[in-house]
Symmetry: C2
Subunit: 425 residues, 2 copies
C-alpha cells in the first residue's frame, strides 16, 4: 500500500470548519493505517479573532491572511468554508489557477459560477470537490456522475424547510412560529430567505443536473418557489387527504428536454419522501436501465458537511474525484407553463348553493378534471374553504382557470394552488 | 481527457450476463465521449448452447472454453457471472493470479471464500469488484469503505423475501402461496432456500461487515434465521400492532465487539424500511460522526445487477476500485444469547382465567417486562393466541422463558418469538 499524502489549507473556521478539523484529528490514524491516506492540515486561515476560540489545539497553524495558504507551494489542496460569493469566488479561482485542488461546500457560489469554476478546474487538471454542497445526498454523487440513463431525480434537498414543514404538520404550528423555532435551534439563519425561498434547494439541483445530465443550468432559467406562503390550514387539509407537503427539487428528462423546478408539493404520506422528519434530506433517482433508488440522510449541521469534505479529500488523494465534463448534447429546458401535474387547489368562497358548480365549470373549460372535493363548514353565507384535488392538467391552464375564478364575486380571497407529485416511491 | 481502456472477458450468459452485454452496447458511445472510458468486450464464454439465443449480436466473440479468456493476455478484466461455488472459485482465483481484475456478483462464493480471494487480489495488485453482489446498496459502498466511525448498519438485503413478506402483508397470502407466486414471477429460484433461509442476506452482510468494519466474518459465526416459519397470522397481528415483518441483516458495533445477525424483525410501520415494497432493498447506516443515512433501491433482476457490474468497470478503469485492507483491529463477535432486544411473542393457550397470569409470572422470573398484550377470541376453553410485546430483554432469558412456558399444560403448540427492531429511522 503506497501512502498518499495531501497537504491541506483550510479557509474559514465556522461550524463546519471546526468539524472538519475535529474529524481530521479523530480519523487521522485509522485513515493512515487502514487506507494509507495521510492528510496533513498545514494551515488554517480565519480573519475573525472571535472564532479562534480553541487556539490551543491549532498549535500555531492559524493565520489571518488567505495568501499564506494560496501562496504556499507545499499546500496542494484548499478547503474553502467561508461561504458567500466574495471573496470565496476569487479564492477558489485563484487556488485552481495555482494548481491546487479545491474542496468547497459553497452551493450558492457554485450555483451562480459553477460553470466557469468547473472549467477552470478541468483546465488546470485539478479537482473541485463539492460534496459538502450536497450533504444529504453526497453518497450517491458517483452514481449520478455516470447517470447517463437517468430519467428523473427528485428530492427534499433542504433541511431547514423540511424542519419547518414537519413542525407545521406534526405540531400544528404556523409557518412563522416554526421558522422562529428553527432559528432558535440554529437550523435557520437570521435571514432565512436562501432556505425558505427555495434558492438553497435550487443551487443543489443545479449541481445535480450538472452531474447527472451534463447540463449547465442557470438559476434564472427554471421555476423556483419557496414555502413562505404555505399556510397551516393547507398542511392540515393535505394531511386529511393523505398527503404531506414537502419542498421538492425536481428534474425530469424527456428526449432532449429537461423539466426542472423547485416548489412545495403534496406527496402521498406513505411514501419515503413524505416521511422525512426534521432536517432530513432525501433523493430519489428513477433510472429504468440501472434500477431505481433513493437515499435518505441527515441534512444539516457541521458533521454531515464535514464528512462530505472528508469524502472529497479521500477521493482527491485517490485521484478519483468527480470530473465534470463539458456538455456535448444539446438539451433544452421545458417552459413552466407547459408542464403537467396534478393540483391541490383551495378556494375561499361564500358557502351557498351553486358555488361549486360555478368553480367546476371554469375548471372544465380549461380541461381540468376534478378528482376529489372537500367543502368545509356548513354556515350558509359564510366564507368557507373548498379544496379540490385535480387529475393531471397543464400548468398554464390551471393558472388561467384560477385567475378567472379569483375574479368571481363568490370568491373572497386569493386561491391557493399547490402541485402534487405522486410519482415518488 | 486521456482515454482509459479495459479489455473484457465475460464468463456466463445468464440473465445478468445478457443485461451486461446490452448495457455495455447501449452506453458505449456516451461513456467514451463523455467520460473517456473505452470498454472493449473481447470474448464471452458460455457452455450451454441453449443460452446463446442471440448469436447474431455476439458477432463471433463467443467461446466455449473459459481458458480462451483466462489465457488471453490482452484481456485485463474478467466478469464472472456463472454463479455457484465451483468452478467460479477456481476461475476467479486463476484470473487474479494471472493479473486480471475480476468483477463478480457471486455473494455466495465471496461469503465463503472472500477472505482469501480479496487477499489474492491485493497480492496481485488487482481489483476484485463485487458491487453486483450488493445490488440494492452498491451505491453506498464507497461510503462504507471509509466507514471508520459507523456504529451500526441494518437493512433488507434480499428482494425475494421482501416480496414474499410484502405479499403476505398486503394480500393476506400464506407463506407458501406467496413463495409460489415469487417463483412464477422469477423472483425466487426453484430451490429457494438460499433466499428464504436468510443465507443470501447473510452473505451480503459478510461483505458489508468486511467493508465497513474491516473484519472477516465467517458464515457460521453468527445467527441466521430465515422467513420459512413466518405465519400469516403473525404478519396480521404485527400489522394490528403497528409493525411490518421484514427480514433484516443487522450489525452493531460496541467498542471492540460486533453484534451480527440475520432474522425476521418487526419494524414500526411508519419507518422507511417497513415501507419497502416488492423486491426493494434498503440499508440504513447509523454514523453519528458523519451523519445517519439510508438507501432504498430495487433489489432483483438483471438490470440493477448489470448496472452494478458497470459501476465496477468504471471504478477499475479509473483505478479507484474498492480496496479491502487486511484487518488491523481485533474485533470479537458477541454471542447471540447475550444480545438484547424487544420481542413479539405469540402463545397458543387455552382461553381460561389465570392463563395470562401464569405466562406473565414466568416472563417476570426471567426479567421480561410486558409492554402490550392482545388476547384473541372469547370462547372459553378453546385454544386462542395471546400476543405479547415485551420491553428490551436478554435473548437467552427470552428463549428460556418461552421453553418453560411451552411445557405448561395450558399451552397447546409451540410459541412463536420474533424480535423487534425499533432503532430504524
Amino acid at each position: 500500500m503506497k501512502e498518499k499524502k495531501l497537504t491541506i489549507g483550510l479557509i474559514g473556521l465556522g461550524t463546519v470548519g471546526y468539524s472538519v478539523f475535529d474529524l481530521l484529528e479523530e480519523r487521522k490514524n485509522e485513515l493512515k493505517k487502514q487506507h494509507g491516506l495521510n492528510f496533513y492540515l498545514k494551515r488554517i486561515a480565519e480573519k475573525d479573532p472571535k472564532k479562534k476560540k480553541n487556539l490551543k489545539s491549532f498549535r500555531g497553524i492559524l493565520c489571518k491572511n488567505v495568501e499564506e495558504i494560496l501562496g504556499d507551494s507545499e499546500i496542494d489542496t484548499v478547503i474553502e468554508l467561508i461561504g458567500g460569493i466574495d471573496p470565496a469566488h476569487k479564492i477558489i479561482r485563484e487556488a485552481l489557477k495555482r494548481k491546487k485542488n479545491v474542496v468547497t461546500g459553497n452551493k450558492h457560489l457554485l450555483g451562480l459560477h459553477g460553470k466557469s469554476l468547473f472549467r477552470e478546474a478541468n483546465k488546470n487538471n485539478r479537482y473541485l470537490g463539492f460534496r459538502a454542497a450536497m450533504t444529504g445526498c453526497h453518497q450517491v454523487l458517483n452514481h449520478l456522475e455516470y447517470g447517463g440513463t437517468i430519467k428523473s431525480i427528485l428530492g427534499v434537498f433542504n433541511g431547514t424547510t423540511n424542519y419547518i414543514l414537519s413542525q407545521m404538520e406534526e405540531n400544528d404550528m404556523s409557518f412563522s412560529d416554526a421558522l422562529k423555532q428553527a432559528q432558535k435551534l440554529g437550523y435557520a439563519e437570521r435571514d432565512p430567505s436562501l432556505d425558505i425561498d427555495g434558492l438553497d434547494s435550487a443551487y443543489k439541483l443545479i449541481l445535480i443536473v450538472r452531474l447527472a445530465f451534463v447540463y449547465n443550468l442557470k438559476p434564472d432559467s427554471f421555476y423556483i418557489e419557496g414555502i413562505r406562503n404555505i399556510e397551516i390550514q393547507d398542511v392540515q387539509f393535505a394531511k386529511e387527504l393523505g398527503y404531506a407537503i414537502k419542498l421538492l427539487g425536481i428534474v425530469k428528462r424527456e428526449n432532449n428536454a429537461l423539466e426542472v423546478r423547485v416548489h412545495p408539493c403534496l406527496v402521498p404520506k406513505n411514501k419515503s419522501l413524505a416521511l422525512l422528519k426534521g432536517v432530513e434530506n432525501g433523493i430519489e433517482i428513477i433510472d429504468e436501465a440501472r434500477g431505481n433508488g433513493g437515499l435518505i440522510a441527515e441534512g444539516a449541521g457541521g458533521n454531515p458537511a464535514a464528512s462530505a469534505v472528508l469524502a472529497d479529500l479521500i477521493d482527491i488523494a485517490n485521484d478519483s474525484g468527480i470530473y465534470l465534463p463539458e456538455p456535448i448534447e444539446k438539451l433544452s429546458i421545458k417552459k413552466m407553463p407547459l408542464i403537467k401535474c396534478k393540483y391541490y387547489i383551495r378556494f375561499n368562497a361564500i358557502n351557498k348553493p351553486g358555488v361549486l358548480a360555478k368553480i367546476a365549470s371554469v375548471l372544465a373549460k380549461y380541461n381540468i378534471n376534478i378528482r376529489k372535493v372537500i367543502q368545509k363548514g356548513e354556515e350558509i353565507g359564510a366564507v368557507m374553504p373548498i379544496i379540490i384535488i385535480t387529475d393531471e392538467a397543464v400548468e398554464r391552464e390551471a393558472q388561467k382557470a384560477v385567475k378567472i375564478i379569483d375574479k368571481l364575486p363568490i370568491v373572497k380571497s386569493k386561491t391557493k394552488l399547490i402541485r402534487i407529485e405522486e410519482k415518488v416511491f
